[in-house]
């Protein structure tokens, strides 16, 4: 029964993709969106049933849906592994996915590519489900590439916009770099283990040499860094905000970008073997958390602030993975999915209310005009800033506490400063958007309206989850989530930490978050001229942050331009040398053909004509023999008989 349900989970959205993709034009938008969110809803129900089953029995399920490739050493099945980790991911993906699908019905209302949008979204759900459910690396990779494709399609949803098309290509190309690393990791795993199934690989992981483990983990890390937008491959995520807001919420905040974290947690058996790579993971995570947060401080596009915040929060998850706190990382992944989806969707609601305006410099004073959006955005902000008892506090604090208690003080400092910045820029966003005087132009202000219930409803559910989600991991280190994930992710650092220290760290984290709030309050509510003065004072630093450390420009200079130059060089080489050769050969062939035509015309045909004409002449002579007169023939016959008789006679005499 459970096995059947597991097989059904990715099947429903797939069915919706096929129906909407092939027949979507034939029926109304209503039918299309009902199919889309209905299928995700059915998947969600199946997921809950599977979850309840696993909760009761406590055993994981391995289901082979289809035997796909077999021969020699290689056996690859389209098979699913549903264990506690997959279960959490499934709940997040289908649950948040369902809410975002419902929200999209309102948000995308009246868009021209309505059915196309939902087809892509469902395709994304299929891919993401394959990604988290696969029991081997090939299925994981299919999902991995599938979500990349859907990300590309949905970023480029407004493909008439040049910036959207470029952002889509950028996301795709940058992800390719990571995917190459991931592929190499898969190859290495197959070479070493002769199998690609998780359970078999992890069972014999102990035989790996430390060097090989490092190589595999490093390649996996490259894949994770690309997909989860970590340094140095994070540049695509902020640009990905060109897509519709529900896409940013679903793909570029809640689910796809966390695939890298999922992959590391899933493969922690390999990562655990290589302390070097673990350190790299932690350092990348810490640096990204801090780095992206600083850029977030000065951005003025509401979605881009959230995008940098996503990069930064993913950095926390990587940091958690890097110090072995896999449960904490998964916990943060889950709470982040709740509050970041909430933030993105409320931001979408703001954009919706302002008829497409995304620049926070042209907002302000919206709290009274769109009260529900304001309340929900406030919940999201408090949750991500890490103020107890909302969700973000528990998960982020757990990662911070792990870093501190395992004596990674530098990482702890980075993460703490990152947390301060996070709190500051999120409250800055809140103040600039909802409080203070309105900076909207008159026309926009006239049309401000609260979003319809179909959008606010899912937001309320996400709001409740953002408030209560943290209690799944309460009390820290021994919460329900930790016990549930223990069979997969281990219990993390198995050493006793005094309650006093834990409480003190919590106090510090809360203090940091409140300090960020206070600073934002001072800058954007009390002393409104302070930000400009500060920016003027530290002009160089401000400019660097505003231009995102010139990383895009640097990449352009170091990679993109040389690649273009190389392309031009190759183009020149192709045009002059290769094409020259080809043309030369063609000209030679042309000449040879002309020669052979001449030879055929004058030599061969001449010879043949001589033979033909000779025959003609000879025939004219020979036909004289044929007089047509019977007695001539008779005479010849008689003469022949005599001749024959004479010859016979002569032969007989011999």
């Amino acid at each position: 029964m459970t096995d059947l349900l597991i097989k059904l989970i990715p099947l429903f959205p797939l069915l919706a993709v096929i129906l909407n993709g092939l027949l979507g034009r034939r029926y109304s938008h209503e039918t299309a969106h009902r199919l889309a969110w209905g299928s995700v809803g059915l998947s969600f129900l199946c997921t809950i049933a599977v979850f309840v089953d696993i909760l009761q029995t406590g055993e994981s399920h391995e289901v082979i849906a289809y035997q796909w490739i077999f021969g020699g050493d290689l056996t690859v099945n389209l098979a699913y592994l549903v264990d506690p980790l997959t279960c959490i991911m499934l709940l997040v993906v289908t649950g948040v996915g369902l809410l975002i699908h419902i929200y999209s019905v309102g948000y995308m209302h009246g868009e021209s590519g309505f059915t196309r949008f939902f087809t892509y979204m469902n395709l994304f759900m299929v891919s993401m489900l394959l990604l988290v459910m696969g029991n081997n690396y090939v299925v994981l990779f299919i999902g991995w590439e599938g979500v990349g494709l859907c990300s590309y399609l949905l970023i480029g949803y407004y493909y008439e916009k040049v910036s959207a098309a470029k952002a889509a290509s950028k996301a795709f190309v940058v992800n390719r770099i990571g995917d190459a690393g991931f592929l190499l990791a898969i190859f290495l795993i197959f070479v070493n283990f002769k199998t690609l199934d998780y359970t078999k690989v992890f069972a014999q992981v102990g035989q790996l040499s430390p060097e090989m483990a490092t190589a595999i983990a490093l390649c996996l890390l490259i894949g994770a860094v690309g997909k989860s937008a970590q340094l140095p491959l994070y540049t695509w995520l902020p640009d990905a905000m060109e897509g519709p807001t529900p896409v940013s919420a679903l793909i570029h905040a809640a689910t796809m970008v966390t695939a890298g974290v999922y992959m590391i947690v899933r493969n922690h058996a390999i990562f655990d073997l290589s302390p070097t790579v673990m350190t790299i993971v932690a350092v990348i995570g810490g640096l990204t958390a801090l780095f992206a947060a600083t850029i977030g401080l000065v951005q003025t596009d509401i979605k881009r602030v959230l995008a940098y915040s996503t990069v930064s929060q993913l950095g926390y998850m990587f940091l958690g993975c890097g110090i072995g706190a896999y449960t904490a990382a998964t916990f943060h992944l889950m709470t982040h999915a709740f509050f970041k989806a909430l933030l993105f969707l409320t931001a979408g609601s703001v954009i919706h209310a302002l008829s497409g305006e995304q620049d926070i410099r042209k907002m302000g004073g919206l709290s009274s005009k769109i009260p529900w959006t304001h309340r929900l955005f406030l919940i999201g902000t408090v949750a991500i800033a890490g103020i107890p008892p909302l969700a973000g506090f528990w998960s982020k604090d757990e990662i911070l506490a792990h870093a501190f208690t395992q004596h990674h003080y530098l990482l702890y400092a980075m993460a703490a400063v990152g947390a301060l910045l996070t709190s500051f820029y999120m409250f800055r966003l809140l103040y600039l958007t909802f409080y203070g005087a309105s900076r909207m132009d008159h026309h926009t202000e006239q049309h401000v309206h609260e979003s319809p219930m179909v959008m606010i409803g899912p937001l309320m559910v996400l709001g409740v989850l953002s408030i209560l989600g943290g209690f799944l991991g309460f009390p820290p280190e021994h919460g329900w989530l930790h016990r549930f994930l223990a069979p997969v992710a281990g219990l993390g650092g198995e050493h006793e930490v005094s309650t006093g220290l834990v409480l003190m760290l919590m106090m510090i984290a809360t203090g940091i978050a409140l300090l960020g709030w206070a600073l934002a309050h001072y800058f954007y509510s009390v002393n409104l001229s302070a930000p400009d003065r500060l920016a003027a004072k530290f002009q160089a630093g401000y400019k660097i942050l505003l231009n995102k450390y010139y990383v895009d420009e640097l990449y352009d200079l170091v990679w993109v331009e040389p690649t273009k130059q190389l392309g031009r060089l190759l183009d020149w080489f192709d045009r002059t040398v290769i094409d020259g050769l080809v043309h030369g050969v063609a000209r030679l062939a042309d000449l040879a053909a002309a020669g052979s035509t001449w030879a055929e015309k004058y030599l061969i045909y001449g010879g043949l004509n001589v033979i033909g004409y000779g025959n003609h002449l000879a025939a004219r002579q020979w036909r004289q023999l044929q007089s047509g007169m019977v007695h001539h023939y008779a005479a010849v016959i008689v003469a022949g008989i005599f001749l024959l008789a004479v010859i016979v006679q002569l032969i007989m005499q011999l």
Partner: protein, 100 residues
């Protein structure tokens, strides 16, 4: 008792007569008759050797030839009539339309 050579000699004379008739005469009907003479020369030869060799095969062959000669005469005469209708002539020299 007439010796075999006498029969063969008569047969040869008849055959030569027929042959010359075929080659020399221009009247189609006479040519046809000459062919009959040649066939009968062959018949005499066959029957003579049949008697000499005391085998009935020769006489059987002669009977066959008589039958075939009858058929041949019928077809030949039919051809003569058809040609005569077209050409108003039984002269073999004018019948050269077998050539191209």
């Amino acid at each position: 008792m007439i010796p075999l050579s006498a029969y063969v000699a008569v047969s040869a004379v008849l055959f030569i007569t027929g042959l010359l008739g075929v080659l020399i005469r221009r009247n189609f009907i006479i040519v046809l008759m000459s062919v009959e003479i040649m066939l009968n020369a062959a018949n005499i030869n066959l029957i003579a050797f049949s008697h000499y060799l005391e085998s009935m095969a020769g006489q059987m062959a002669a009977l066959f030839i008589i039958a075939i000669a009858a058929g041949e005469a019928a077809i030949g005469l039919a051809i003569i009539i058809v040609v005569f209708r077209g050409k108003i002539s039984t002269n073999v020299d004018e019948m050269n339309f077998l050539k191209w």
